[in-house]
């Protein structure tokens, strides 16, 4: 809500500097989003009248103007503008004035000197969207005669400060000049002046012309109508235009401008119908019938929807309630009588209708916030009065006001002691009453230090005692609330072990060289398919209203996100790295609650010179650090991984995740031409299997004996299988097996490899002798010979 401080001063006396005013408004909950002077002009801009226009003798597109600026002075001005003629009143910037950072100086155009500049609205700081149509492109033309030589900026309202207030949804009553004035008055413990709206009248002549019925009172809470006889449709007076422009609205003509003026001043959207077009002298506010059509003001022929509320005459719709008028009843130059509508419609239905009809009009936005029926009659009266005041129309006496269920007063009783204990304060009853009264509440002190409060009717947001506590303290001042550190609660919530575990995993991966990334969890179907060709659309979670196709599905794997990160890094010539992410993946299958399955995963990607054993080492380190021992690695069969260089990580019957080189064809699709390896583990499983206890283990009492063993086996034999066989054959004395070398090459038969292990033998009871170790050792060798055809090297 844009508020002109000059306009506001008509309703409330603010004596402090504007910055101080804004700060106080801010603290009381009227959030100030910006304060600005509304002009970019420095220096005199005066009102001038074009008295002569001649063509420039030496330039086709230029004209020479004589501009009268009063007191017998004229200025010669050269301009290329095409929208001005002799007699027009325009703003003239004199030499020395700085406009949009540019200084006006006397210049000679092909032999003729130009000493000043006629200005457009935009040059003076007005937005093109608020300029009257005749001034939209070219020089601004005043719509009425003004004293020549006067300050033109003043007449345009450009000597003002405007404040942009954010109005929260619970306070539709603040969406107006009067509403802001009321809040300002409360904030400064003063009074707001609400302009007079009483219309002097002595008959109910309107009833001869019109009757009104609300057929659907569940969607229309109040309907007030007044009728006026149009005198002349012309531009509204400059003072009104100035205020509309300051409020961000374009002046159009006196009738439309008054309705917009009321919108800004009172917050009530009005609509004007051409009376001649209303058949049967009747208006019915009703739901649209099935198949009913209406052509709206914008010329669109529209099919109505279920629950769409129409303003209808005896035969047809003449407007869509609260959203847009009908073309058939539009005000034109021929309009003789108008019907002014001031109504309150159901906010939810307006919001839904506007959405269904794809008609996001300003009026719909306002009604969707909730327009208070309380103001309907005031707004209609005020509009009628203004139309008469500016000479736009004459009154047809009387008002029709259909208000089936008037909003009644609410009375709240609140214990002052409760207010203090809830706020943690020690306010006197007088302070509380003062705050509430400044908000125009009716307050009576009852027995037992209780307050009986009747809030004004427009305060629909005040319903419970907490609302009263809030009103008291926001006006009294949040800054005066003392600070205590949960004085009443020394409770300490138990640690979330799972979150701590996740933090530990992240920290481990960072200490192992990984850079953590956070990526978008949504992506496109194409990307998902690029990663997993046979993906089933039935398995993935789709957003029904995405920003675009590129963000329309939830990811089903983290590895996929990391490939995008790697691809992006390679594109930026960052040729080596380890990235990781911990986050959710999403699967369409429902969980116990009925939500899509959401699993927390941790994934790692390495590229640029890292091999399978590097990333496996990272995984092994993490497992070791969280006390997961005994994982085994089985060949994986995943479409996006290299078959020979990928493994599933198993712990007993649970698959913790996988490790592997991304299939080169898939890496290619992500812009990765080289080897990239990924690992993805399930965080819940890791957490369930982790053993983070500290276990004390004394140093071995007796020394261990070491035997190294190198065996030659066929290349296909897996070291993991050999180690398992060694452990099995080694018996209780074998304490540890460590691989220390793998060799394939010249000294080894083709198709074979040499694997070298260190075997550690020991006993907790005594020192072993060589013979015992040798016996175990040869037992192992024999087993390997039998099972794998292994030869001792």
């Amino acid at each position: 809500m844009i508020v002109s401080m000059k306009w506001l001063s008509e309703y409330v006396d603010i004596t402090c500097p504007v910055e101080e005013y804004a700060e106080r408004m801010n603290l009381t909950g009227n959030n100030v989003e910006g304060i600005s002077k509304n002009t970019a002009v420095d220096g005199p801009v005066v009102v001038g009248k074009i008295i002569r226009k001649t063509k420039h003798p030496d330039a086709d597109k230029l004209s020479v103007y004589q501009v009268d600026i009063g007191e017998g002075k004229t200025e010669t001005v050269i301009s290329a503008a095409t929208n001005i003629k002799e007699g027009d009143i325009i703003p003239l910037a004199l030499a020395g004035t700085v406009l949009q950072g540019k200084k006006i100086e006397s210049t000679v155009f092909r032999g003729i000197e130009s000493k000043a500049m006629m200005c457009s609205g935009e040059e003076l700081g007005l937005d093109a969207s608020v300029l009257p149509k005749n001034s939209e492109s070219g020089i601004y033309i005043f719509s009425e005669p003004l004293a020549l030589g006067e300050d033109a900026l003043k007449h345009l309202g450009l000597d003002d400060v405007v404040i942009d207030f954010e109005i929260t949804n619970n306070r539709p009553d603040c969406q107006s000049m009067i509403g802001i004035a009321r809040e300002s008055a409360a904030a400064f413990y003063t009074n707001a002046f609400v302009p007079e709206a009483t219309v002097e009248e002595s008959s109910n002549a309107i009833e001869k012309y019109l009757s009104i019925k609300i057929s659907d009172p569940d969607l229309c809470y109040r309907y007030v109508a007044r009728m006026m006889k149009v005198k002349k449709i012309e531009p509204s007076p400059l003072w009104m235009q100035r205020k509309l422009m300051a409020g961000g609205m374009r002046p159009i003509n006196n009738i439309v401008d008054v309705t917009n003026y009321i919108l800004l001043e009172v917050g009530q959207p009005l609509h004007a119908f051409d009376y001649k077009m209303i058949e049967g002298k009747t208006i019915d506010v009703r739901r649209a019938k099935e198949g009913e059509k209406i052509t709206t003001l914008d010329g669109e022929k529209r099919e109505t929807r279920e629950n769409l509320l129409l303003i209808a005459d005896a035969n047809k719709g003449v407007g869509i309630a609260g959203i847009m008028g009908g073309q058939n009843s539009e005000i034109t130059d021929e309009t003789e009588m108008i019907v002014l509508e001031s109504a309150a419609f159901d906010a939810t239905n307006i919001r839904k209708s506007a959405f269904d009809m794809e008609m996001n009009t300003d009026a719909a936005a306002l009604f969707a916030k909730g327009v208070n029926p309380h103001f309907c009659d005031y707004a209609a009266d005020r509009a009628a009065r203004l139309l008469m005041e500016i000479g736009a129309a004459e009154l047809i006496e009387g008002v029709i006001d259909i208000y089936p269920n008037p909003v009644g007063v609410k009375k709240l009783t609140v214990d002052t002691a409760w207010i203090n204990s809830f706020l943690g304060m020690n306010l006197s009853v007088e302070e509380m009453v003062r705050s509430l009264k400044s908000l125009e509440m009716d307050v009576v002190l009852a027995k037992g230090d209780r307050l009986e409060i009747i809030p004004p009717l427009y305060r629909t947001d005040i319903n419970i005692k907490e609302d009263i506590a809030e009103e008291v303290v926001r006006i009294y001042g949040y800054e005066k609330i003392p600070s205590t550190l949960n004085s009443a609660s020394s409770y300490v919530s138990p640690k979330n072990e799972r979150y701590a575990f996740k933090t530990r995993i992240r920290s481990l991966l960072a200490s192992l060289g990984g850079y953590e990334v956070l990526t978008y969890t949504f992506t496109s179907y194409d990307k998902l398919k690029a990663f997993e060709e046979h993906i089933d659309q039935e398995d993935i979670v789709q957003i029904i209203n995405p920003l675009g196709e590129a963000t329309s599905y939830m990811r089903n794997s983290l590895a996929f996100s990391l490939l995008e990160v790697v691809g992006a890094n390679i594109a930026k010539k960052n040729m080596k790295g380890i990235f990781f992410e911990a986050g959710n993946i999403f699967i369409k299958e429902k969980d116990a609650e009925g939500l899509p399955v959401q699993q927390e995963k941790v994934a790692i990607a390495t590229y640029g010179g890292y091999d399978f054993y590097d990333i496996k080492g990272i995984v092994e380190s993490v497992l070791e650090q969280v006390g997961i021992a005994g994982a085994d690695y089985r060949r994986a069969d995943l479409s996006y991984l290299h078959q020979g260089i990928s493994a599933e990580v198993w712990l007993g019957e649970k698959m913790l995740g996988y490790i592997g080189q991304v299939h080169p064809a898939i890496a290619q699709k992500f812009g990765i031409a080289e080897n990239v390896l990924i690992a993805e583990m399930d965080l819940s499983l890791l957490y369930a299997c982790a053993d983070m206890r500290f276990v004390y283990q004394p140093l071995a009492k007796y020394p261990s004996l070491l035997r190294d063993m190198a065996v030659v086996v066929s290349s296909e034999v897996l070291s993991g299988d050999i180690v398992a066989a060694i452990k099995e054959a080694g018996g209780p004395l074998l304490k540890k097996v460590e691989l220390f070398d793998v060799y394939e090459g010249q000294q080894i038969q083709a198709g074979h490899k040499s694997l070298a292990y260190s075997l550690f033998f020991s006993s907790p009871e005594r020192t072993l002798n060589d013979a015992e170790a040798d016996e175990a050792f040869y037992g192992i060798v024999q087993t390997l010979q039998e099972r794998f055809g292994a030869k001792l090297r």
């Binding site: 609302d467 800054e479 609330i481 004085s487 009443a488 979330n496 850079y515 029904i544 999403f586 939500l595």
Partner: protein, 318 residues
């Protein structure tokens, strides 16, 4: 005999004194005290002496032996010390060459900030609670007292998976789930990803990270809210940080507020980061709305509480 002994003694001492290498000392030791050394020989030949002479000579020889052993040991220690000094003196490296760093990465700045904030709140008894990113509309809106017609429920503001399932727009559903499942006292913070239908630009993203907090217990007051959140701001931005509470409306709080803190970049003097205001909006907060408590089965007449929420952006990691 005595002369020979004296001669051997002075010969040994001279050699020891002149020795510059440890092996020269070894030579002396072998020559004098070895199996066939001169003194050893002398002791061995003592059998030929008379019973009267034997103890005297034995004593003299032993005295010389002890003396030589001590001299050898002293000189050896001296030579070893000198050798060490010489070696250390010659071993000088370029200490300005770069070190060999183990490979290390880093946590994402948002994770670091989250952890920092989590530690601050842990110090006053809050622990982390987490919940699903895709959640029921009821937990994201209904239980939070969001009006039926509130625009945030609309397809323009919120991503939907189905009519009643959505991508949470705040981590508040975690607060609701916690209140539904637990009796007070409750002290939680809930960090996590949230989703809003904003196009990506310099200051907007359809996905961002948020941290919310909730306390519900007997006797929690608005002054507790103020004190706790001031404690948080000072812990995060420094002890001289000032805060400002402005009234603000949220449907799930009553009263509601926004908290500003003096700009951590300029300390409140005004700079580009704070648009020259000296203040930065940090979080929204308020006393938990009694209707929210009732819906979650927590009697607002018995318990009260406050909640807060902040978006995590990089400036938190000052």
């Amino acid at each position: 005999m005595k002369e020979i002994l004296e001669k051997l003694k002075s010969e040994a001492i001279e050699k020891i004194e002149n020795a510059t290498q440890i092996n020269q000392l070894e030579e002396v030791r072998i020559r004098m005290l070895g199996k066939k050394g001169a003194l050893t020989e002398m002791l061995r030949s003592m059998g030929k002496l008379s019973a009267e002479e034997r103890p005297l000579v034995g004593k003299s020889v032993n005295e010389v032996k002890v003396l030589i052993e001590k001299e050898l040991s002293d000189k050896k220690q001296m030579l070893e010390e000198k050798a060490l000094m010489d070696r250390l003196g010659s071993e000088s490296i370029d200490i300005t060459l770069p070190g060999k760093k183990p490979e290390s990465g880093t946590l994402h700045p948002i994770t670091k900030t989250t952890l920092e904030i989590q530690e601050i709140f842990a110090s006053i008894g809050f622990s982390v609670a987490e919940g699903p990113e895709i959640d029921f509309a009821k937990y994201n809106f209904d239980y939070l007292n969001t009006p039926e017609n509130h625009p945030s429920r609309g397809m323009n503001d919120t991503f939907y998976i189905s009519e009643d399932v959505l991508l949470r727009t705040q981590t508040s559903p975690v607060q609701i789930r916690t209140m539904l499942q637990n009796k007070p006292p409750i002290k939680i913070i809930s960090p996590g990803k949230v989703y809003r239908k904003d196009e990506i630009d310099a200051t907007h993203s359809p996905l961002f990270n948020q941290m919310e907090g909730l306390i519900v217990d007997k006797g929690i007051t608005m002054s507790d809210l103020k004190g706790s959140l001031e404690y948080f701001a000072r812990s995060l931005f420094g002890k001289d940080t000032k805060t400002k509470f402005r009234h603000h409306q949220f449907y799930f709080t009553e009263p509601g507020a926004e908290m500003d803190a003096t700009c951590p970049k300029c300390g409140g003097k005004g700079c580009r980061v704070c648009s020259n205001t000296g203040w930065i909006e940090i979080l929204g907060c308020g006393m938990v709305h009694p209707r929210v408590q009732s819906m979650c089965g927590i009697d607002p007449e018995e318990y009260s509480g406050f909640a807060f929420g902040l978006g995590l952006c990089l400036w938190h990691g000052h």
